[in-house]
């Protein structure tokens, strides 16, 4: 690693905050990025990674705080393309201009000869489409063009915003090696991603943010040892749930941290495997499984960002596709008490006190047609407001 003339803080953010109206995209973010290493910038979608990148490049003005590149605000950087190269948005090119002309216009800004343009086109493997309009480029080709633009000025500081998006496996491997090579040449490489798995093999240092705030700032090695705790997976017979409770209580009593898993197993931390076996034997619980595990980085990352995910998906209930009950035949779904949504065709479990003909298929008086096609999980056409059945 070469010590740069700016010391170890090539990019330095201090109390960086950005608000867009009422929404705070980045809040009080302080970190620094050092040369000679790949620094991963990790966070879920909408965590503020791109906003931070734009502020580093002086494109967006911070609401509070400041960020410097090479010791000064980016807007005051002399001959910026020779100091800092950036890939922000693969598609940020005029589609009507050829790849080569796009790079040429950028090269001319800092007196880079046209020779160098052909050189970087070769580096990213685009020489064959250099004369083609970038309009027809795939996302992967766009990423390569963006990377070429970043490399153009042979800069000391490189920023890449999600560089592997849209790349094929060969391209991903290439980007990974490129980053490492750039860092090994003593450059500062700051690369954002939402994929922990990608960063685990590319980065030397990790900065994790969620909801615009710093969650973690440590080397990948420290991150792994801090977050990948060993644990044991224990499964008791599925047929006897009470055994699971019993074992869980016994293990907790012995000082273990027990977390139930969704498939019915138990995740046990803080006890060696033989001890778990002994305790199970002592509690007279049979085991179907007892296995050693190590939490993956992905899991550690998920746990860390759990509370900071802006866009969380929910199970698709497909309720919007279901037929609304015809007026007069039934109340809306939410008025039917205690009928869990069980899926498209699953019939609701019989409810005490409900009419026996609640399910539409069981009601011979219903007209054939749309109403009869109402899935059983949707409202049953029983009307609690009509207690007396006319039949």
């Amino acid at each position: 690693m070469t010590r740069s003339r700016w010391g170890w803080r090539m990019i330095e953010a201090v109390g960086l905050t950005k608000r867009y109206g009422a929404k705070t995209a980045v809040y009080n973010l302080s970190f620094h990025v050092r040369p000679g290493a790949v620094t991963g910038f990790l966070g879920p979608n909408g965590a503020g990674k791109s906003t931070t990148m734009r502020m580093i490049l002086g494109l967006d003005n911070p609401t509070a705080g400041s960020v410097t590149v090479g010791g000064q605000p980016f807007r005051q950087t002399p001959n910026a393309p020779r100091q800092v190269g950036a890939l922000l948005d693969a598609k940020a090119v005029h589609g009507g201009r050829s790849a080569r002309n796009h790079l040429l216009s950028l090269a001319q800004l800092s007196g880079i000869p046209a020779r160098r343009v052909d050189e970087v086109l070769g580096v990213v493997g685009l020489q064959e489409v250099a004369k083609k309009r970038s309009k027809g480029f795939s996302l992967g080709m766009g990423q390569r063009l963006g990377i070429a633009a970043a490399l153009l000025g042979d800069p000391q500081v490189l920023l890449f915003d999600e560089p592997v998006n849209g790349l094929d496996p060969e391209g991903i491997l290439w980007v990974r090696n490129l980053m490492k090579q750039l860092a090994s040449e003593g450059r500062t490489v700051f690369v954002s991603s939402h994929l922990m798995s990608e960063m685990a093999v590319t980065a030397d240092h990790l900065i994790v943010i969620g909801r615009g705030q710093l969650l973690s700032d440590m080397s990948v090695r420290d991150f792994i040892s801090a977050n990948s705790a060993d644990f044991a997976r224990v499964r008791t017979p599925d047929t006897e749930p009470q055994l699971r409770e019993k074992l869980s209580a016994a293990l907790s009593e012995a000082g273990a941290h027990v977390v139930p898993e969704p498939d019915g197993g138990l995740r046990v931390m803080g006890l060696p495997l033989p001890r778990i076996s002994d305790l199970a034997h002592g509690a007279d619980v049979r085991l179907w499984e007892l296995s050693p595990h190590q939490a993956s980085l992905e899991e550690a990352y998920m746990r860390m960002t759990q509370g900071a995910v802006d866009y969380r998906s929910t199970t698709d209930q497909k309720a919007g596709l279901m037929q609304q009950p015809q007026p007069g035949y039934g109340p809306p779904a939410q008025q039917v008490p205690d009928v869990p949504q069980q899926g498209w065709y699953a019939p609701p479990p019989p409810q005490p006190g409900q009419h026996p003909y609640a399910a539409p298929a069981a009601d011979p008086r219903l007209p054939a047609g749309p109403a009869a096609a109402v899935p059983a999980a949707a409202p049953a056409p029983a009307d609690p407001t009509k207690p007396e059945d006319p039949r």
Binding site: L59, P81, A86, A92, H94, R97, N101, S105, L106
Partner: protein, 259 residues
């Protein structure tokens, strides 16, 4: 500092490597010259049908620029696209990451595009004049007559200023579609209509296009029109004030707002 010559060179590369530059400038030239020529030929054939007053104040110079009402719209498109495509493509972020000095970036881009628009504008103006005069026959004037050369050069300046004004507006609005949606109806309809409504005329004559186009008149009350309270250069001055105001607005927007 990204040096100004470097940015100028880069902007020249940008402008010459997209096809919209060619077709907007070619249409500005072709539309203006062809339409002016057609109207001149038609007028020569039907000159006797004009009213006495119109015959008396017939301004052959101004008349040979008639096609500019349509041709200037192509100039508007050129100006808007030069700036607007930076925003619509996202290229603006690449550009500003390479040239963080926003004033250098903006004024270099505008200088290159305006120079090109001026060259095309001058060519358009001179071609329209000479072809128009040739077709007007006995009603023609010559380039050596009083104020005629001023009007012809003024026509070229007018085309360049229209393009420049459009670039500034597009920088403020940061969108090609929005800019065209405002500028096209304004120059083609609103301004033209208001300029012929009795009361509104007094306001409309201070619009950039109405004021600026006075430079192309040789007779102050040409074609039965009213005499404006400013001269030809005064009119062009009013247009320049509009352009400068728009440029200041453009610079402030680019400087203050996030890219």
């Amino acid at each position: 500092m990204a040096s100004v010559p470097a940015v100028l060179q880069s902007e020249w590369t940008k402008i010459r490597t997209v096809s919209s530059t060619t077709w907007t400038l070619v249409s500005a030239f072709v539309v203006t010259v062809a339409l002016s020529a057609a109207l001149c030929a038609l007028t020569k054939a039907t000159f006797d049908d004009l009213s006495r007053e119109e015959q008396f104040t017939f301004d052959p110079t101004l008349f040979s620029f008639s096609g500019m009402i349509l041709g200037q719209l192509a100039m508007v498109v050129f100006g808007v696209l030069v700036v607007g495509t930076e925003y619509s493509s996202g290229m603006i972020r690449t550009s500003l990451a390479a040239v963080p000095q926003r004033a250098t970036f903006l004024f270099s881009k505008i200088a290159v595009a305006t120079a090109l628009a001026l060259v095309v504008g001058m060519a358009t103006s001179f071609a329209s004049f000479f072809i128009g005069q040739a077709l007007l026959g006995e009603h023609r004037t010559t380039i050596g007559a009083d104020n005629v050369l001023r009007a012809v050069i003024g026509g070229g300046l007018y085309m360049g200023l229209i393009a420049l004004f459009s670039m500034a507006v597009a920088t403020m609005l940061r969108s090609s579609i929005l800019s065209l949606g405002i500028l096209m109806p304004f120059f083609f309809l609103v301004s033209q209509i208001l300029a012929s409504v009795p009361k509104a005329k007094d306001v409309a004559r201070y619009f950039p296009d109405q004021a600026g186009s006075k430079i192309m008149q040789v007779l102050p009350d040409a074609m039965g029109g009213n005499e404006a309270p400013y001269g030809p250069w005064g009119g062009l001055g009013i247009m320049v004030i509009w352009v400068v105001a728009a440029l200041i607005g453009a610079y402030l927007v680019l400087k203050k707002r996030d890219a």
